[in-house]
Amino acid sequence: MTRRPTHILGFYGTQLDAGLRPDRWERWRPTVSLFQHDDLQVDRLDLLVPPRWEKRAEGLIADIHQLSPDTVVVAHPFLAPDPWDFEDVYAELDDLVQRLDFRPDDVDHYVHLTTGTHVAQICLFLLCESRQIPGRLIQTGPATRGPGPTWSIVDLELSRYDRLAARFKARREAAQGVLRSGIPTLNPGFAALVERLERVATASRAPILLQGPTGSGKTRLARRIHDLKRSGRLASGNLVELNCATLRGDQAMSALFGHVRGAFTGAAADRAGLLRAADKGVLFLDEIGELGLDEQAMLLRALEDKRFLPVGADKEVSSDFQLVAGTHRDLHASVAEGRFREDLLARIDLWTFHLPGLAARKEDVAPNLDWELERISEELGRRVRMNREARDRYLGWATGPDATWRGSFRDLHASVVRMATLADGGRIDRAIVDDELVRLTPHAGPDRAQRVLGARAASLDRFDRVQLDDVLAVCAAARTLSEAGRTLFAASRAERTSVNDADRLRKYLARFDLSFDDTRAARA
């Protein structure tokens, strides 16, 4: 006979296995039931018997012998002082396992898990899982609807279970599809773009240019690139982010390339600069099109030679960084206008990714809404939810023609922040969404011109009305007439063609019989 023997190790169940009266056969006794199966033949049972149960265990062994005369039953005293103490039980089992003869090459070893204290079951599980016991777990059960008691193998390899495997697969796919790499998208085009971007980021250290409207997720992608490079050990340094539109004059040079002490007035100490801070890491320069021409030249040199001269220094320093540049502009047009260096563009244009804004990816509103809700929940430290009705209403509008999403994801983010802030107890309901939609809809209510001018607004030409509307918006946001004037005439101010912005604004408003104070009515 070539059959592989089957050995089972298990506890005498002081509750379930007990019984010496004739009616014991009417009950399900787990250890006895191991020998009542037509499809299970047990050649040896190692029975662990707690103290004071020896006599009753003998009765059990006699019953097993009657059921299965060929089975060798070996009783082992199980002397753990406290059968509910993890350490006691584990130590006792471990000793026993060392003594027992496991021959997994020749014998099918099983561990019967249905009897024993819960602590004992946990210990047996651990011993099996760590392969201290080279066997599989077997569990028994009473007859339910079927003709007799049941037995089954508990396989610890979770992927062997069809339904679990399907569940894991679904979870994986969800992670890849909806929350692909932390970038929520259901848009196949965008998903493909992200995938290409990830491939480039893991394969190359060349500069990457992200081109797309404001709020289209450039910063998020830059962070993703850094994560990928970190996890792939392609970068060990930090991610350094800078919006070039915030840089002005001397500060720009110094912020980027650093300076030495005394390089200029106020340079009281050495400054490393962002390029050096990004050494061996990723430097994300957003709105690179706003960078001054001098800085562009310096950046080009830093990219080509990995060396540059900090302000006021007479010695070059080095920094090896991966550049990710962002822009909402068409940089080729900027080159034509003389505002961007052609050689720098050629250097950073090797990998250009055009990111569509949210308006072009409306299917991504839903996943991004969820993502934003998750994020705001984390920020606020409390769960923010949207009820079903509110969510349907919001998404219905957000994916419809009224939603322009001019600020793209930034608008969505702001919108969620507003709603979350107003949400009582973290629940965003229909009323909050309705209010928010009024805010988001460009012409949902009376515009500023109408609010300030009342019925007179109707007599304005569309041409004038649009202009006035924008002026009123600036006034509403400004604290003083002068501040509003500086904002409105910033360009001419830079060219010094206008010396009195406030006066210019006052005269403009007067054409509509308005004073600066009147414009306060345009505030929301």
């Binding site: 037509d38 059921l67 299965s68």
Partner: protein
């Protein structure tokens, strides 16, 4: 080597048992494939393994594939050996099915054999010991061999623990002709209880007596002394001039005694409806014995799938013609030498 499809016809353990017996008797290696392929748990189960192991023991066979759930088995028999055989079935498995596998083999040994089988003796879907005692053994006797049975202790599911002694004296089997009962039928009933109340047996016998129109005196109750576990069986014995038949049922937990007895009543009535000396289960066993004897004729009920499957296996091993002749409400099975 003969190769059989174990999933053909009845597709269960019967093909295997008949194949084992005939392989040993004809000294022909056999390979059974697709064993119990259509069943919920395909392949060899414990009880089948025991049949294989026992058959291999009495004819010194080489066996490949004798493992639980194995769906292919190769059995290469050696010479049949008489002797004293002790066979533990275990798990309350049927001792009688194994005995019916071994008897045809040991018939071809040079000298008598004795067997001690332990396990279940009154199992559902297996001939109970009273059947072997009252029907099978006398038929063998008429054909030329002697089978003596002694039930030392009955065994029931789930506790098992029964023990059956058998002594077989081989002889050259002669063809048998059994076409009518030859006269009136005398009915008697018996019920056995082990470890449970005798009132169960009483209720069963009451139903048999009432429904089959005999007086209460025709029933007998056996209470097992020193029971090894709970159990119950009931059977009706039909005695007639040309032989006997036994119709039985095994009590089950959760099935009322009246329902158990009702099954016996229906089967007895079906047998009594026509002059049929051989019941369905007997027809099955008799087919193999007649084939080994080289001939025989008997009247029975419509052949079951078990019987026709058995016939198909027999034809593969032995040069016999087996015909099932539709004879009105009854059937005649004819076994004859080929040609």
């Amino acid at each position: 080597m003969i190769t059989l499809d174990g999933s053909a016809g009845e597709g269960g353990g019967q093909i295997l048992r008949t194949a084992l017996a005939l392989s040993a008797v004809t000294n022909t290696p056999v390979r059974v494939e697709q064993i119990r392929a259509g069943r919920a748990r395909p392949g060899l189960m414990r009880q089948h393994l025991r049949a294989v192991e026992s058959a291999a023991a009495v004819c010194g066979a080489d066996v490949v594939g004798a493992e639980l759930s194995s769906t292919t088995l190769e059995f290469r028999p050696g010479p049949v050996e008489h002797g004293d055989w002790k066979i533990d079935i275990g798990s309350a498995g049927s001792t009688t099915l194994v005995l019916q596998t071994l008897v045809p083999i040991l018939l071809h040994a040079a000298a008598p054999s004795s067997l001690v089988l332990s396990g279940g003796t009154h199992n559902p879907a297996a001939p109970p010991v009273p059947f072997l005692d009252a029907v099978y053994a006398p038929l063998l006797g008429r054909m030329g061999a002697t089978l003596d049975l002694e039930l030392e202790r009955p065994g029931f599911y789930p506790a098992g623990g029964g023990r059956l002694h058998a002594r077989l004296t081989p002889g050259r089997l002669e063809p048998l002709e059994l076409l009518s009962r030859g006269g009136d039928v005398t009915l008697s009933f018996e019920a056995i209880v082990s470890g449970i109340s005798a009132s169960i047996a009483n209720r069963e016998l009451f139903v048999l007596a009432r429904e089959l129109g005999t007086d209460r005196g025709a029933g007998r109750i056996m209470e097992v002394k020193d029971p090894r576990g709970p159990g119950n069986a009931v059977w009706a014995r039909l005695d007639f001039p040309n032989g006997a038949e036994v119709v039985s049922a095994v009590g089950e937990k959760g099935v009322r005694a009246e329902v158990v007895a009702r099954g016996v009543v229906n089967e007895v009535r079906a047998l009594l409806a026509h002059d049929v000396p051989v019941g369905e289960h007997t027809a099955d066993q008799l087919l193999l014995l007649c084939a080994l004897a080289g001939g025989g004729r008997y009247r029975t009920v419509a052949p079951s799938l078990h019987t026709t499957t058995n016939a198909d296996v027999i034809r593969r091993f032995l040069p016999v013609d087996i015909r099932f002749v539709d004879d009105g409400p009854t059937w005649v099975v004819e076994v004859g030498a080929q040609g």
